[in-house]
Symmetry: C2
Subunit: 333 residues, 2 copies
DNA sequence: CTGTTAGCGCTTTCAC
DNA sequence: GTGAAAGCGCTAACAG
């Protein structure tokens, strides 16, 4: 169906080299020649075979997006942002998740070794030694999206989890005059979870509030986990006034608990979350939470990566920290 | 970093052809030779360059997933399902959306002409003439995921929208003894929307209930649209008992309206949706809706496509219809 | 069973 | 400014 460079060269009465140059906008071709080639290309519906091109140039304009899992709104937004930037720059997005079957490390190695992708966006809850090792002897441009800047041998984008959590708690204490704040954290091997917890702890401390260890429960970022933890908290003798769930999913779990224990939010207890997922605005009452601009995160990562792919220096890496935003709903009285 | 077939052949003391055969599990190589090659490959960390391989075989094990937009849970689940099957079969998933800037047709043509992908999964609200034309002279194996089987020159997977909606309405009428049912449809250029509306209309008719045209409003599948339409419906003199929103997002809009008009669901009016998105289970009360197995849809599509890519016959296409499931919540009294 | 050879479509020296 | 020719890493006849 689609013709090759040879055929096009024949039709144009020029060599394949000239066609190649014309297609690649080489300044050394005469304008008239270029115009001729391009018009023929259009007429004959010629499209350079990208595989062949990548093969010979050893450069691929395919970006590999490695994620721990393909699930939920957050990842969807990231993909969306990456795709958007890729489209504009004529790059392609290839997704890959660990599928719970292989490690993230394996997924990266797979991408790197097969020669398919020209750059990698890596999302991972934390950079372990295995990944660190791979990234270190990695020749492919890579951007890490992480909860914390913990690797400086490649570009990175991180969410300002610490300040997001800090501001949220500070708001509760100073604007809402609340002192009894419990925390359902995420799994502590996850950087986002750790940073949010740090923000929580420091905000309490800085405001002179003593931390009650019983009120800190490690959750798992799922609705179910949030439900379990909040049930525990709400059945305590000394019950917290507000629960800070480390993500909105767990906050939703708190809403479920409220319904089950026949308690009213925000009158009987308050809930705040983190992420500002789409549905949070439709919870009743609307959840007070911290907004993460995940779409922008994806765009930022893709932009940074493409920049690096075109100028693959091995130093002066960018480390972008994306700020969060406090969203005030009605889930705290 | 990664070595080529030539170097490996040298190390093994065999020809590149033999290495190639060994790597591709050609039965004609002696076991001993194969073992030697494979062990050397492992030791030297040899990975065949997939680009080169695809280039020469003119077969790509990359699947192009074309979607109208990359947004929301439905598409996320599709990607997830596709990715899962791709991973298992050693294929790769490339995503592409129309970005509201180019048409779906352009996205397909882009994939087809660049030689990158070996097959396409096409999700589209409807197959228009432009797409139809492209698919017709398309040499690439393609699977269409659509709301209705309206093209039979390639494999297709469709959701049983009609029966899903029919059963839902039938349930309302016969189990819940409700007669006054309104409908907020999706945009009518969308096949899913049309089929769901057909199910609604036929179910009413078959049960001897006269259709009230005023109670049918064309929505846009967004929360906001559902909110606007439901407000209109609930302010009518002759108000419906239950609103059937053509998707859960619009059903959520009905919940918002209820809050605003200070009406209680299900006592003052009922709501049913379609899709069974994740949050529907956390609405208060839980939404009665129709479940679409979107993850399975993605898996099914990828499985079918891979099968076709390995046996590219141009006839006897598969047309799979995926059934839906009635989910009974508490949003109807 | 294995090696030799040609060639996929494109880019890129190196001449002219 | 343009053409000729080599070659990217791999597979696929065709011999042997």
């Amino acid at each position: 169906m689609t013709i090759t460079i040879k055929e096009l060269a024949l039709k144009c009465g020029v060599s394949t080299a000239t066609v190649s140059r014309a297609m690649n906008d080489d300044p050394s071709v005469k304008k008239a020649t270029k115009d001729k080639v391009l018009s023929f290309a259009k007429k004959l519906n010629y499209n350079p075979n990208l595989l062949a091109r990548s093969f010979v140039t050893k450069k691929s304009n395919i970006i590999g997006l490695v994620m721990p899992d393909i699930f939920g709104e957050f990842f969807m937004e990231i993909i969306h942002g990456v795709d958007e930037v890729c489209y504009i720059n004529k790059y392609y997005t290839m997704v890959s998740s660990s599928h719970g079957k292989r490690s993230t490390a394996e997924a990266i190695v797979d991408f790197m070794s097969k020669g398919i992708v020209g750059g990698i966006i890596l999302m991972t809850p934390a950079i372990n030694d295995e990944i660190r090792k791979i990234l270190r002897l990695n020749e492919l441009p890579t951007v890490v999206i992480s909860g914390k800047r913990d690797f400086d041998r490649c570009d990175s984008i991180s969410i300002d989890n610490y300040n997001g959590a800090y501001s949220l708690i500070d708001y509760l204490i100073n604007s809402k005059k609340i002192k009894k704040i419990a925390h359902i954290s995420g799994p502590l091997e996850n950087n986002d979870a750790v940073q949010r917890q740090r923000g929580y702890l420091n905000a309490l401390e800085d405001n002179g509030i003593k931390v009650n260890k019983n009120w800190i429960i490690e959750g798992d970022f799922t609705t179910f986990g949030g439900q379990a933890a909040s049930t525990k908290l709400l059945k305590m003798q000394d019950r917290p006034e507000v629960i800070f769930a480390a993500n909105d999913m767990m906050a939703i779990g708190c809403y479920v608990t409220a319904r089950e224990l026949n308690l009213k939010i925000p009158t009987d207890f308050g809930v705040v979350g983190f992420d500002d997922i789409f549905v949070s605005q439709f919870l009743n009452p609307r959840l007070t939470t911290t907004h993460i601009p995940s779409y922008d995160l994806g765009k930022e990562a893709a932009t940074t990566l493409i920049k690096r792919m075109n100028k693959p220096e091995k130093n002066k890496f960018e480390h972008i920290i994306v700020p969060t935003e406090l969203i005030i709903g009605g889930s705290v009285k």
